[in-house]
């Protein structure tokens, strides 16, 4: 019998990819297409959803062709996607109504402040686990319905559909406007809308009312792993076995299946997710409460999420903005020209501070600057900023969950930086472990889909596919760790209140 594969479709912020995995969880082929980033106004970021669907419809067959396989050798499709990016489309024609509004878009800034009102940004946190920010979908849907003439009436008549990207893709994979298409989402993506009740895992009337969103436009919420539908387009006859948001997919791909297991994906920004089991942990320290995954009719698993806005992008700034290095990897070489940071700390609050501070008026600082500081020390401080931000998030999570982290699984481009990985192990005082497959987002989607169709028997089977490729053990003197962290916290204090109220547009 010919080898069988699972196809992961990763619909990301910059590109759409299809990766095929074999039974041992090994990557066998990759096809990728980038799509345009549209910036119609300052702060606005949009994608053309039709372009994205065309790209997906191309990369899937391309990945299969690459290894000379037949479409029938694909046993399931798993979808993972950029989270919170929101789209409305016409149910009958399948035409998007305007572009998809991307998670980075800040057009709902004012709206979010208005919605928060006197009760503050956490007024819906009990229901949905999230604070009011421009990140999430609900304010965006309200904005779209309010700013397109006649759209709200059409939406109430059931002529308009809403979806995040996995919903749009599944609707198109199942025929689009042909009439048989499935309009569905999964619990992880729904948990990022601010419209889903995090306990009942269903759309919440109070939230729908607060955001003025008609129920008729919303998709059906399904488990993350479970057959959503059978594709009729691109790969006719192949079952769609999973959909998960990208960071949740990475958690799944890292096989963090038990409470207390955590992963951090280090990229432009970084995302740390801690599995909290079937318990919903409400953060008192600025973490998000989110659904980790749900497998079939089993109870959902939850996670705490801490996001760091500026990590890899600080290295990019050091390269492109300051011209200190030629390639991102050279920062390690430069940092190794010195023994330590020389007393310098860089807090990259480029557009405020994210978790756990959430201070939008903060701006970055270089603290501890003396004549002794060389570019080598600054290179260290750039890398260490990612380490300290990780420690802040882990501290907050430990406090919220009462579970002390024992190891951190890492993935993403920055894991090639040994100095940084060692620094993170030293600061957190836990093992830092890199898996053999670095494409954990796609792997997670493949795992969840393969599980749904019986390609893999159970979670234990998936765990046995996970192998350690590298590991960093902590060996920093506790006294030094404490001093370094105290210095960092003092530097963070100095970023606060930089943008004064009178500076903001009136």
């Amino acid at each position: 019998m010919a080898e069988q594969y699972v196809a992961a479709v990763d619909q990301g912020t910059n590109s759409s990819r299809c990766i095929l995995f074999d039974r041992r969880g090994r990557l066998v082929s990759v096809a990728q297409r980038e799509h345009r980033q549209l910036f119609p106004r300052p702060g606005w970021v949009e994608h053309d959803a039709e372009e994205i669907w065309r790209n997906v419809a191309r990369v899937v067959p391309a990945a299969i062709r690459q290894i000379g396989a037949a479409p029938s050798q694909v046993v399931a499709i798993g979808i993972t996607n950029q989270r919170e990016t929101s789209l409305l489309w016409d149910r009958r024609t399948g035409q998007p109504i305007g572009h998809a509004v991307v998670w980075q878009d800040t057009r709902t800034d004012r709206l979010v402040t208005e919605l928060a009102g006197d009760e503050g940004a956490d007024r819906f946190a009990d229901l949905c686990g999230l604070p009011l920010t421009t990140y999430f979908s609900a304010p965006r849907i309200k904005w779209m319905l309010d700013h397109t003439p006649g759209l709200r009436q059409r939406a109430e008549r059931g002529e308009v559909l809403f979806g995040t990207m996995e919903t749009w893709l599944i609707w198109n994979f199942t025929g689009g406007p042909n009439g048989q298409a499935r309009h569905v989402t999964d619990v992880t993506n729904a948990s990022r809308t601010m419209l889903m009740n995090i306990e009942t895992l269903d759309w919440d009337d109070k939230l729908l009312e607060a955001f003025d969103v008609p129920r008729a436009i919303l998709p059906e919420i399904r488990p993350s792993s479970g057959v959503f539908a059978t594709a009729t387009e691109v790969l006719p006859g192949v079952r769609i076995g999973a959909a998960l948001g990208d960071q949740q997919a990475a958690l799944f791909g890292q096989t963090c299946f038990s409470a207390g297991e955590a992963k951090c994906t280090y990229g432009t920004g970084s995302f740390l997710l801690l599995h909290t089991g079937q318990e919903i942990v409400r953060s008192k320290h600025g973490m998000l409460t989110t659904v980790a995954y749900q497998i079939g009719d089993q109870p959902a698993s939850y996670a705490l999420e801490g996001s760091m806005a500026v990590t890899g992008s600080l290295v990019q700034w050091f390269r492109d903005g300051l011209g200190m290095i030629h390639t991102a990897a050279e920062i390690e070489t430069l940092a190794r020209t010195v023994e330590d940071n020389g007393g310098a700390y860089i807090v990259p609050a480029f557009s405020g501070l994210f978790a756990p501070h959430w201070r939008s008026e903060a701006r970055g600082v270089i603290a501890g600057l003396t004549g002794y500081i060389t570019k080598g020390h600054l290179a260290r401080a750039v890398l260490e900023a990612t380490g300290f931000q990780t420690l802040e998030v882990v501290d907050a999570m430990n406090a919220d969950s009462g579970i002390a982290l024992t190891a951190l699984k890492v993935d993403g481009g920055m894991t090639a930086n040994n100095l940084l990985m060692q620094f993170i192990a030293d600061l957190l005082d836990v093992r830092v472990v890199r898996p053999m497959v670095t494409e954990t987002v796609s792997l997670g989607a493949a795992y969840a889909a393969g599980l749904a169709v019986g390609y893999w028997p159970d979670l234990e089977g998936l765990r046995s596919n996970w192998h350690r490729a590298g590991q960093w053990m902590p060996h920093m003197d506790p006294a030094r760790r404490a001093t370094e962290y105290a210095n960092w916290q003092a530097a963070v204090q100095r970023t606060f209140n930089w943008i004064r109220p009178e500076d903001q547009d009136l």
């Binding site: 090994r26 990557l27 390639t327 991102a328 990897a329 050279e330 920062i331 390690e332 070489t333 481009g413 894991t415 090639a416 930086n417 040994n418 053999m436 497959v437 670095t438 192998h467 350690r468 490729a469 590298g470 590991q471 960093w472 053990m473």
Partner: protein, 250 residues
């Protein structure tokens, strides 16, 4: 006697002009000075940029000599850059072969480990990035030593009874490596272990390092104690893939 190469003469002229222009020069400046068409100058500049001899300013309009041009004797590829280019391919080699994978480069007569991927059996292993290996006693070392024009190790220390300690014999071994394009080692560093490695060629064919795997003899060699052909193929394909990645956009 073969003739001279015109494009190298032109490139040398471009370098001389750039060295004399602290503020840099544009394509048109160089074309006018040398009496060459803009497309010709542009091609020369693009190549010199790719090999790291010239840089562009922020606007992209002016070219000047790079710092690296003044330090040609130093390694042209940053070891951390080599690791970040190699990491996915090295992971894939470890996962397909089931063995330890290392990427190394020659530094002052020794092989420095630039990247290390654990054997995928989840046993206790320590990262040895930054440590050095003896070049004459490992496949990784032979794969870089064979293409090095300066540093022959002076004293050939014996690690086992099989270590090559005779310079003449080592010279023959390295000639074999060059003729077939890959290197092997059999109990020459550690008893019961063997290894296979292949050179990674950057732009112009320059060997920037090597990638290889190591493991127990019974897994690396066949029943006649020859290094397994399928593993050799995998190692060579990995070295080629890393090299392609390096050449595509340096």
């Amino acid at each position: 006697m073969p003739g001279t190469v015109q494009s190298i003469e032109r490139a040398a002229a471009v370098l001389r002009l750039l060295a004399a222009a602290p503020d840099g020069l544009g394509v048109a400046d160089l074309g006018n000075a040398l009496g060459l068409a803009k497309t010709t100058v542009h091609g020369i500049l693009r190549t010199l940029h790719q090999v790291g001899f010239v840089e562009q300013d922020h606007s992209g309009a002016h070219y000047h000599l790079s710092d690296a041009f003044g330090r040609l004797g130093e390694s042209y590829l940053d070891p951390n850059e080599l690791r970040s280019r190699a990491i996915n391919w090295a992971d894939s080699l470890a996962s397909r072969s089931g063995e330890v994978v290392r990427v190394g480069r020659l530094v002052e007569g020794k092989v420095e480990v630039v990247h290390h991927v654990f054997r995928p059996d989840d046993s206790d292993q320590d990262l040895d990035v930054g440590t050095t290996l003896p070049p004459h006693a490992t496949a990784l070392g032979k794969a870089v030593l064979a293409y090095d024009t300066s540093a022959r190790p002076r004293s050939l220390e014996a690690y086992t009874t099989r270590t090559i300690t005779d310079p003449v014999q080592l010279g023959e071994e390295l000639a074999t490596v060059r003729s077939r394009g890959w290197a092997t080692e059999f109990e020459e560093h550690t008893v019961e272990l063997a290894s296979i490695a292949a050179p990674i060629r950057g732009l112009g064919g320059l060997v920037v390092g090597a990638v290889g795997l190591a493991g127990r003899i019974e897994r690396i060699c066949d029943s006649r104690l020859r290094h397994r052909g399928d593993l050799v193929t995998m190692v060579r394909a990995t070295a080629d893939a890393i090299a392609r990645d390096l050449r595509d956009d340096t």
